[in-house]
């Protein structure tokens, strides 16, 4: 049956309505920003920020700061995911290891992110390893919880099929378990991604000479509020770029078999 498209409000399609609303939201933000600039002593005007943005975009050093932050994010996230995957697998082996690891999950779930960043600074000093560890530790419990849920929901009938057809352990992981757990893995990735970005910049503020966080610190030290706003905007662009440039296309590719079902 073919769905009949109903025109939305004002005779516009739903997509056009959504774009118009987004545009309206941005315009209101700019208006509030301009008013804030006019009636405050410190908030830079949108035009000043624009000029500074262009200036920073022309400087090659800007990109190396962004690349440094992205690299730390990906390594930290990857490390957290790998650690969580191993621990989650070990927790599946029996009640002893499950009880052994439960406190680790609980502690890392509740400990403040800032405290983790400070611990990492004290232990690893100015080394970049501190950033990786901070991100990994913060991401770790969210991933373990999601994976545990995924493991609990593995389809026993597919496991039987894999046994009968004598899949090797790697085939069972690669062809059965990982695709089955993908919804949980992507849910964990989505939940932890934005959080990981925040941890990256916090630890960079404390311990790094490069990266977006280090530029926050520099702007603060020189009281360059306009530059701080520019780096916040760059941060937002970097987060969206990774989300829409890496994770969303990846997720779309992994779940393309589901799109097939929706069409069918």
């Amino acid at each position: 049956m073919t769905a009949i498209r109903q025109p939305g409000r004002f005779g516009l399609s739903r997509t056009k309505q959504q774009w118009l609303l987004l545009l309206a939201g941005i315009l209101v933000l700019f208006a509030a920003w301009s008013i804030g600039h006019r009636y405050s002593r410190y908030l830079p005007s949108p035009s000043t920020v624009w000029t500074d943005s262009v200036h920073l975009l022309m400087a090659p050093g800007t990109y190396s700061h962004i690349v440094d932050s992205v690299r730390r994010l990906l390594i930290g996230l990857g490390g957290g995911f790998i650690a969580a995957f191993i621990v989650s697998l070990l927790m599946r082996t029996g009640p002893w290891l499950r009880r052994f690891f439960e406190p680790y999950v609980f502690v890392t779930l509740t400990i403040p992110s800032l405290a983790v960043a400070l611990f990492a600074l004290m232990i690893f000093g100015l080394s970049e390893v501190g950033v990786y560890v901070s991100v990994g530790v913060i991401v770790f419990p969210f991933v373990v919880v999601s994976l545990n849920e995924g493991f609990a929901n593995l389809d026993a009938s597919l496991t039987d099929m894999a046994k009968v057809y004598r899949f090797g352990w790697w085939q069972r992981v690669r062809q059965v378990a990982l695709p089955e757990m993908s919804p949980y893995l992507f849910s964990a990735l989505r939940n932890s991604h934005a959080l990981a970005w925040k941890i990256v910049v916090i630890t960079e503020v404390f311990s790094q000479q490069t990266g977006i966080g280090s530029q926050y610190k520099r702007s603060y030290d020189y009281f360059q509020l306009s530059e701080l706003v520019v780096w916040v905007l760059f941060f937002l662009v970097a987060v969206f770029a990774v989300e829409f440039g890496v994770f969303r296309p990846w997720e779309k590719r992994v779940f393309r078999w589901r799109v097939a079902r929706e069409r069918g």
Partner: protein, 269 residues
């Protein structure tokens, strides 16, 4: 004894259950035979297949395949279980892999040389008339097409025998009839030994060389009927209806339906 598959005095129980799931099953399947197992729900006919596939171990009894004891006195021997294809009630394809990948993954696990995969895949898909769907996602196929892919997968691994657990019970009757005919066609061409579990006597007499009848649970095989009606068979064949009628008569008594009627009449009085 002396068949391709010989089962003697097999018993099985789930976990610590007080009641056995199967109790003393004796069964022989000849090489290349289409052997059906018919029994009421809960008699343990599917359990028998899980033991034959190696998914579960019996409590007691002996299973010999091609002269090699796989289980002896309830214990797994060191002998390797011959490769078996398995068709479940549902197709159990990996929905995130294409038809081609589903077959290739099974062939890889079975150790079929990679250079043979393409030819084998093409042959099987052509034989089962699904060659147009080689690169389709399983969820884009109909139930019948998915079952054909599952048959292709079972055959692709060059099995010593194929186990089928009520594979057509979830399909509509027209599709199921069509697939039964195709299955017989494939069986005739490949000569594979098939052990087919069903609760439908009509399905069993249409397909089988031998119909093994099981008692109510905990089940055992109490009768093995050789079906001599010549192939190709049709559902309308009066000879087939006669065989079916005789088996129905036998199982009504064995499964206790006549006793139930008596009890009901007595209770009514």
């Amino acid at each position: 004894m002396g068949g391709f598959i010989d089962i003697a005095d097999l018993t099985f129980r789930y976990g610590d259950a007080e009641v056995l799931a199967i109790a003393g099953v004796d069964l022989t399947v000849q090489k290349g035979e289409f052997s059906c197992i018919v029994g009421p729900s809960g008699c343990g006919k599917s359990t028998l297949l899980t033991i034959l596939s190696g998914l579960a171990a019996p409590e007691t009894g002996t299973v010999t395949i091609e002269g090699t004891a796989i289980y002896k006195d309830g214990r797994r021997t060191d002998e390797e279980l011959p490769r078996c294809g398995y068709m479940f009630q549902d197709s159990r394809l990996l929905p995130w892999r294409t038809v081609r990948d589903n077959l290739n993954i099974a062939m890889k696990a079975a150790g079929i040389p990679e250079e043979q995969w393409n030819d084998k895949l093409a042959d099987l898909l052509r034989m089962l008339r699904i060659e147009a769907f080689a690169d389709s996602w399983p969820l884009n196929l109909s139930g019948g097409q998915r079952h054909r892919v599952a048959i292709a997968r079972a055959l692709a691994i060059e099995p010593a025998f194929i186990l089928m657990d009520e594979p057509f019970s979830t399909l509509d009757e027209v599709t199921a009839r069509f697939l039964r005919t195709e299955l017989l066609d494939v069986w005739a061409r490949t000569g594979t030994t098939i052990v087919f579990v069903t609760h439908s006597i009509r399905e069993a007499v249409f397909l089988a060389d031998t119909v093994n009848l099981m008692t109510k649970g905990p089940g055992r095989v109490f009768d093995a009927r050789r079906i001599t009606v010549p192939r190709p068979r049709t559902y309308e064949d009066p000879n087939l209806a006669e065989v079916e009628g005789a088996i129905v008569e036998t199982v009504l008594e064995a499964w206790g339906y006549y006793d139930q009627d008596v009890v009901t009449e007595e209770t009514a009085r």
